[in-house]
Symmetry: D2
């Protein structure tokens, strides 16, 4: 079963909108924070080092379901796991909860694809990344 | 067949990231601009008036496929149409193209759900909005 | 002498731009995080409670000097203190450093003004806030 | 007297916050849009071409006064002019008005400094930019 990564963050005022809740695009930042934190903490691959090695992971597909809205002051628990790796793509699965009452806020998945920063085109996932990801899937 | 709404916008510098392309969350803002412009232009329902009447449309579901990245300086054509209306939800379909060469950047759909700003819970779509939306679907 | 509040945050990928550094507007979010954290930690006034009491502090004046750019992966130390309180305004002073080498990134001040959320006009600072702020200045 | 550049933009929903007005950091994006539009329209120097030539203008100093808040639905008129050029820095002056009633929203100035994208350090302003800027000041 995939290993879960968990991180917590607090809603920033700038992430709200005039509806009085967190703007829907702000959650994509939380998802990005979740997967880069998973890379740093679980894979020992800080994303800045991935880029220094000449690679990047661009978002190819979003599939996000909003279940309940977070508000300013909420602490959010971001659960991230690696759903799968296929060819040049790595897909992350998510569950976001409100810390105070475990209410489910967001579920979804984000598919990323490996790119070469030199050619700015698709690239094979480098071996050291592939192996690190595989440890999360076994 | 659904009526297409078209708007153009130019990538802002702040919408790029250090990968040198438009950050994936910035496109959600373009999608939001597309559907509120459709409401204003095609439905004669500026979103600020929807809210003044006590309603809002919250995003419930994102299904977005990134096909090619836009860069700073690009002009983007946002094609929006209403895919469907069911119960309290309205779903918008999208195609985003780069103006200079018609390259397809983004396809996807966004489901929104009608909310009462008084109760902050789900609400039936008010009749005048339902009728306006229906004209786009017939 | 004013009491310093210190918080740390890590640069998010979405806060960078294609110049490869943190976009200048992203620092304003760090400044906002600094002063709301100061209110929560030093004044025991979480900003959500200020708003629930019917008040808000709107930014009236920015005076910010950018000295060095932060990059993705940097941890930033936000030092915030209350520079002064005069009439309905509270002014915060800032020094932002990079955690790894103490390089000075930003200095500046932000003046905020008390507003009534009911009238959306200027309001006197409520007594309990005024007294809490005063403890930081004595 | 300096030549004024004028552009119009409409407040985006994502630029508001839960106070019901445009978030203060969003105006910095309008200021950036104002000066890059001035460069494109008045100087014939689209900013993407400045970067392709190996240069960038980083923000060094913000001095912004918020006078009245804009709300969702407002159209904003951004008046930008070049206040001065000294050494490697170019300073822009701003007046932002609400289109509907000419209410003054923002006044301020933003100092930018020329950078080499190769060294990521300060650089002399290239001659063709210097000459173009000079035409705005004579």
């Amino acid at each position: 079963m995939a290993i879960q990564h968990e991180m917590r963050l607090r809603v920033r005022y700038s992430e709200t909108d005039q509806m009085g809740v967190v703007h829907h695009a702000s959650y994509l930042i939380y998802l990005e924070e979740g997967r880069t934190a998973l890379m740093r903490d679980n894979l020992n691959l800080p994303y800045e080092e991935v880029e220094r090695a000449g690679f990047a992971f661009a978002v190819r597909k979003l599939d996000v379901r909003y279940r309940q809205g977070a508000v300013y002051g909420d602490e959010i628990v971001v659960h991230t796991h690696i759903e799968g790796m296929r060819g040049a793509s790595i897909t992350y699965g998510y569950r976001l909860l409100r810390a105070s009452d475990d209410a489910l806020l967001i579920t979804g998945s984000v598919e990323t694809v490996c790119m070469s920063l030199e050619t700015m085109g698709p690239a094979s996932i480098p071996d050291h990344i592939r192996e690190a990801v595989q440890t999360q899937l076994d």
